[in-house]
């Protein structure tokens, strides 16, 4: 599979990827096995150079001072046999390495923290974009939910409106009914007053009554519903030939209020 897959390895005669034959681009897993994770901290060292394991190795035989005695002896041997000669370069070595060690000891931790902060800022920036997106979607979901809840309660509004309309219709109907009643009553009253006037013209004196307007007064005092009916009918029976009388022949049961 590694040879057959199209890759840089098989691209040309000399196979330009031949040096990196184990790293085929994008045709499979980047590593050959689940690579074990790297440890978080490196191995412990003393003096920045000598691993701790060396000291532990010598400890059973020579104790704590063993490695130090070994180191001192080695350095003194190098110096005394002039394997390492003291030259002007030595002083530049001392000053340069001393300067570097001083700088690292003083500012090493803060530089490391600065690097960590840079990385954290990068991640925080992307995280913020992600969180903003999530928050936006969450807000949209909440708004949608609240709007759905509102829709559920919309029938209250319609009920209220329906009731309002029904009330308005009822009111209009009653109003019209009342108007009809009043009109009819008006006409009937007119006829009754005319009849009363005609009837009373013969029986009473004109000036005693003081005008035909009083006919209405008599009417008001005389009338409860059925009595007026009887009254009208009796008057109508006496009269003949007046067109208004025929009007009143029909017996209409009219419920009158006191103040109509």
């Amino acid at each position: 599979a590694a040879a057959a897959a199209p890759s840089l390895k098989n691209a040309a005669l000399l196979r330009p990827g031949v040096l990196q034959a184990t790293r085929i681009f994008h045709t499979g897993q980047p590593n050959l096995a689940p690579v074990p994770p790297l440890p978080e901290h490196g191995g412990k060292v003393r003096f920045g150079l000598l691993p701790e394991e060396f000291f532990q190795f010598l400890y059973p035989k020579t104790g704590v001072t063993g490695p130090y005695v070994l180191g001192t002896g080695l350095i003194l041997r190098l110096l005394s046999k002039e394997i390492y000669a003291i030259t002007p370069e030595t002083f530049s070595v001392i000053s340069t390495i001393g300067f570097l060690v001083y700088i690292v000891k003083k500012h090493g931790a803060s530089v490391g923290e600065f690097a960590d902060k840079l990385n954290e800022q990068k991640i925080a920036q992307l995280e913020e974009v992600k969180q903003a997106s999530i928050k936006q979607i969450q807000d949209a979901i909440d708004m949608e939910k609240s709007q759905q809840a509102l829709v559920q309660k919309r029938h209250y509004l319609f009920d209220v409106q329906r009731n309002n309309i029904a009330m308005a219709l009822e009111v209009t109907y009653r109003e019209q009914l009342h108007r009809v009643y009043r009109e009819v009553k008006n006409r009937l009253d007119y006829h009754i007053s005319v009849q009363n006037y005609d009837a009373s013209e013969g029986t009473r004196a004109h000036d005693k009554l003081g005008g035909e307007a009083c006919g209405a007064e008599h009417l008001c005092t005389a009338g409860e519903g059925n009595s007026r009916q009887v009254h009208c009918r009796s008057k109508a029976a006496r009269k003949e030939g007046s067109s208004s009388a025929s009007y009143v022949n029909t017996s209409i049961p009219i419920k009158t209020a006191r103040n109509s």
């Binding site: 002083f91 300067f99 600065f114 990385n119 990068k122």
Partner: protein, 226 residues
Amino acid sequence: MNENLFTSFITPVILGLPLVTLIVLFPSLLFPTSNRLVNNRFVTLQQWMLQLVSKQMMSIHNSKGQTWTLMLMSLILFIGSTNLLGLLPHSFTPTTQLSMNLGMAIPLWAGAVITGFRNKTKASLAHFLPQGTPTPLIPMLVIIETISLFIQPMALAVRLTANITAGHLLIHLIGGATLALMSISTTTALITFTILILLTILEFAVAMIQAYVFTLLVSLYLHDNT
């Protein structure tokens, strides 16, 4: 290895094979590339520094000049790293060799000037005469400006070489003085040693400053010509 003052400037050869190639190529190992978003501290710091330097240095150019960014950034990294590595004991600094500095300066300067002459001929020729010169002085001034133009690559190369070489020499000499004074009077030796420490600090600064100056001047020549 250090019999006289010249030994630290001899190009290293092992068994006839030029070791200097490896020495010149070595600083590239110190700048790892990484395609990750979150890197280790080393790479993070390098990327941050590179971003800082490139923003500061390339913002003055137009889009044509900014195509030189890769060249200038690798230039400053190379010169800075080779200078700093040369301060370590017993190491060889390639930038002390005039040959190499000339090899860096002349092509870069010539590239900038020829670009200017090809694309903006009138403006490039106009650089030979500063504004507002009185008429009798014009011929002389043109000659002087031409000389100053052609001396630019020489100045670039020699400046870098001289600074680094002089620094190394001084360190060597003062170290030798300390050594000689140790047997005579220890106090004076200590004073000399203090001077040596201060000089080392100066040399670290000079190493980085020279890299910066070199790159800055090249970018300036570029700015004039794009």
